[in-house]
C-alpha cells in the first residue's frame, strides 16, 4: 500500500535520503525510527506527494505520488510534524473544510465519529486557537482519519499528549492498523514495541534495518563478549562459531554476537575464547530490546561513516601526493 522505490532526495549538495526502499502492506503498522535529521520527515514528505524525490518513485495504494498525485492524495491521511491547523476556526468547521475538499459522504456524522475516536467530541465548537497542545495534536489526527484513508502517514502522532491520551491514541492506531496501512515516526521506542508490527530504521538518510516486530520480540538473543586481548581475527573467528548468525565489534574489546539462544552456542563461544587465549572477561546473554538494536545500528552506521570518511581522506591524501 505504501511503496518507496529507490527514493533519493538532494537539497543542493546535501543528500537528505539515499536509495530508500521499502513496502508497507495493508494491516501493517510500521514504525519509522531514526535519530533527528536522519531523513524521516523528508521520506514522509515524499511519500505524501508534498515534495518530489530527486530520484526514485513512491506509490500510495498503487498510485504514483507525482503522476497520479490526486488519486494518491485522496487515499492518504497525513499528520505532518507541525500540525497544520487554522487557529481562527472552530474544530468542527476545520474538519468540515477538510471533509469538503476530500468529498466525504455524510460529513457531519463522520466528523462526530472521528471526534469521538480522538476524544474531542465535547470541544467540537471550540476555537482551535484556544486548545491545548495535546488537543491540537488530536485535531490533527482527526483530520488525517476523517476520510477513512487506505494509508495513514503520521509524523510523531503522540508528541505533546499526556500519558492517558497516549494510551488512547495508541489503541486507536492499533485499531486502525488492522484495516489500513499505517506508517508512523516516533522517538519513543516503547511505543513502537507496543503498537508496531514492523520497524524500519533510517540513519543518515539510509535504511539500516527493516524487520518485523515478531523477530525482535521472540528471536534476537545477543551474547555480549568482553575480551582482554582480542586479536585482529577475533571477529571473523567468533562469527564462524556454530549458532552465531551475526557478529559486531562494539568497541576495541567488546563484541556483540547474535545467537540462537542455545546453551551449546554459549559454551562454544566461551571455549573458542579460552582456546585462543583472548582472555575472556565477560560473557552475558541478553534479550534484544528495540533500544539495543537501535543503538547498535547507530554505532554500526557511525563506524561505517568513519570508515568511509577515512577512506575519503586517504584518497584525498593520495591524490595530493600524485
Amino acid at each position: 500500500m505504501i511503496e518507496a522505490d529507490g527514493l533519493t532526495k538532494q537539497y543542493g549538495q546535501f543528500t537528505a535520503i539515499q536509495d530508500v526502499n521499502f513496502t508497507c502492506k495493508q494491516g501493517e503498522v510500521v514504525g519509522f525510527l531514526g535519530p533527528n535529521g536522519a531523513g524521516k520527515t523528508t521520506t514522509m514528505r515524499i511519500l505524501t506527494g508534498y515534495m518530489p524525490p530527486t530520484h526514485g518513485n513512491a506509490y500510495i495504494a498503487g498510485h504514483h505520488t507525482i503522476h497520479q498525485t490526486m488519486e494518491a492524495r485522496q487515499r492518504l491521511g497525513y499528520l505532518p510534524e507541525t500540525v497544520p491547523l487554522y487557529p481562527e476556526m472552530r474544530v468542527e468547521d476545520y474538519l468540515a473544510f477538510m471533509g469538503q475538499i476530500r468529498r466525504v459522504d455524510n460529513l457531519w456524522d463522520r466528523i462526530d465519529a472521528v471526534l469521538e475516536d480522538v476524544g474531542l467530541l465535547d470541544r467540537a465548537e471550540s476555537f482551535i486557537g484556544n486548545l491545548s497542545k495535546g488537543m491540537r495534536q488530536r485535531v490533527g489526527l482527526a483530520q488525517a482519519l476523517l476520510h477513512d484513508p487506505d494509508v495513514l502517514i503520521l509524523d510523531e502522532p503522540t508528541i505533546g499528549l499526556d500519558p492517558a491520551q497516549i494510551v488512547e491514541i495508541r489503541q486507536l492506531i492499533t485499531e486502525l492498523g488492522k484495516k489500513h496501512t499505517v506508517l508512523l515516526s516516533t522517538h519513543i521506542l516503547a511505543e513502537v514495541e507496543q503498537i508496531c508490527t514492523r520497524v524500519i530504521m533510517i540513519i543518515d538518510g539510509r535504511i539500516w534495518a527493516d524487520m518485523p516486530m515478531e523477530e525482535i520480540r521472540q528471536g534476537g538473543n545477543i551474547l555480549q563478549v568482553k575480551l582482554a586481548n582480542p586479536t585482529p581475527d577475533t571477529l571473523s573467528v567468533l562469527s564462524q562459531v556454530p549458532g552465531v548468525t551475526d557478529a559486531h565489534q562494539i568497541t576495541g574489546n567488546e563484541f556483540n554476537l547474535t545467537v540462537d539462544g542455545r546453551d551449546e552456542t554459549r559454551i562454544q563461544v566461551a571455549e573458542t575464547a579460552v582456546n585462543n587465549h583472548w582472555g575472556l572477561l565477560e560473557l552475558t546473554q541478553a534479550r534484544v530490546s528495540l533500544e539495543t538494536i537501535f543503538l547498535n545500528k547507530l554505532k554500526e552506521a557511525e563506524a561505517a561513516y568513519t570508515t568511509e570518511q577515512l577512506m575519503e581522506e586517504l584518497d584525498e591524501a593520495v591524490a595530493e601526493e600524485e
Binding site: 508534498y50 515534495m51 487554522y86 481562527e88
Partner: protein, 244 residues
C-alpha cells in the same frame, strides 16, 4: 472550481476575523466618503461652478487600493507557509492552481464588498440629481478590473515570502513599478512611440477610459491579462516551493 470555492469560503471566514483588512477598508471608504461630502458641500455653496464628479471619488478609491490591496493579500499565502498549513493544502487532493484561485476569489470578494460600500455615492447622486448612468457603470467595471489586477500582484508577493510584512512591501513595490511605468516614457520626447509603449504598460493609464464612460478592449485585456499572468506566476511559485 468547486475546490477553489471551498478554499475561498474558508479564507473569507479568516479575512473577516483579520483586523488589518478591515482597517484598510474602513480607512479607504472613509476617505472617499470625506471627498464626496466635500464635493457635495462645495456644490451646495456654489451650485453649478464645480460639478459633483464620481470620478474623483472612485479615482481616490482606486489610488488608495495601491496600499490596501497588498495589505489584503499579504497574509493569504505567507501565513499558510509560516504556520505549516501549506503542507496540508499541498497534500490534500487539491491542485496548486485551485489553492491560488480560491485565495484570489476570497480577496476579490472582499474587494467587491468594499466597492459595494461606495455605491452609496452614486445612489445619493441619483436620488438628488440626474447623473449620466453610463459612465457610472463603466467606472465601476473599471474599478473591479483594477482591483483584480492589484490583488493578483499582491498574491504573487504573498507566495514569495512566508513573512507577511515582506509580502506587503514586495507587493506594494511591484504595484508601484507597474503604476509608475509611464514615467520613463516622459523622457522619450523624441519618440512618441516609445512614450506610448510605456504609457500603455502603466497600470494607471488604462483606468481613465472607464471613468469617462468608455470600455475599450485594450483596457479590459490589460487588466485581465495582468490578473491572469500574476495568478499563473503565483501558481508556479507555489509549485517551485515543493522542490526546495
Amino acid at each position: 472550481m468547486r475546490n477553489a470555492w471551498i478554499v475561498a469560503r474558508r479564507e473569507l471566514g479568516a479575512i473577516f476575523v483579520q483586523p488589518i483588512a478591515y482597517i484598510f477598508t474602513i480607512v479607504v471608504v472613509g476617505i472617499t466618503g470625506l471627498i464626496f461630502a466635500a464635493q457635495l458641500a462645495n456644490y451646495a455653496i456654489q451650485p453649478g461652478v464645480v460639478p459633483v464628479d464620481l470620478a474623483n471619488v472612485l479615482g481616490t478609491f482606486t489610488f488608495l487600493y495601491i496600499f490596501a490591496a497588498p495589505a489584503i493579500t499579504m497574509r493569504l499565502l505567507s501565513e499558510e507557509q509560516r504556520s505549516g498549513t501549506m503542507e496540508l493544502l499541498m497534500t490534500l487532493p487539491l491542485r496548486d492552481g485551485e489553492v491560488v484561485l480560491g485565495k484570489f476569489m476570497a480577496a476579490f470578494i472582499f474587494y467587491m464588498v468594499a466597492t459595494a460600500l461606495t455605491l452609496v455615492y452614486p445612489f445619493v447622486l441619483i436620488q438628488f440629481g440626474n447623473p449620466d448612468i453610463g459612465p457610472i457603470l463603466t467606472s465601476y467595471l473599471g474599478v473591479l478590473l483594477w482591483g483584480a489586477g492589484l490583488l493578483a500582484i499582491g498574491l504573487l508577493a504573498s507566495a514569495l515570502s512566508d513573512n507577511q510584512m515582506v509580502s506587503f512591501i514586495l507587493g506594494f513595490g511591484l504595484i508601484l513599478v507597474l503604476y509608475l511605468a509611464f514615467i520613463p516614457g516622459r523622457f522619450f520626447t523624441a519618440s512618441p512611440t516609445v512614450a506610448l509603449v510605456f504609457n500603455e504598460l502603466s497600470f494607471e493609464s488604462h483606468l481613465n477610459n472607464f471613468m469617462r464612460g468608455l470600455i475599450l478592449a485594450k483596457d479590459v485585456v490589460y487588466y485581465l491579462g495582468i490578473t491572469a499572468v500574476f495568478l499563473f506566476a503565483t501558481t508556479r511559485v507555489l509549485e517551485s516551493r515543493r522542490w526546495r
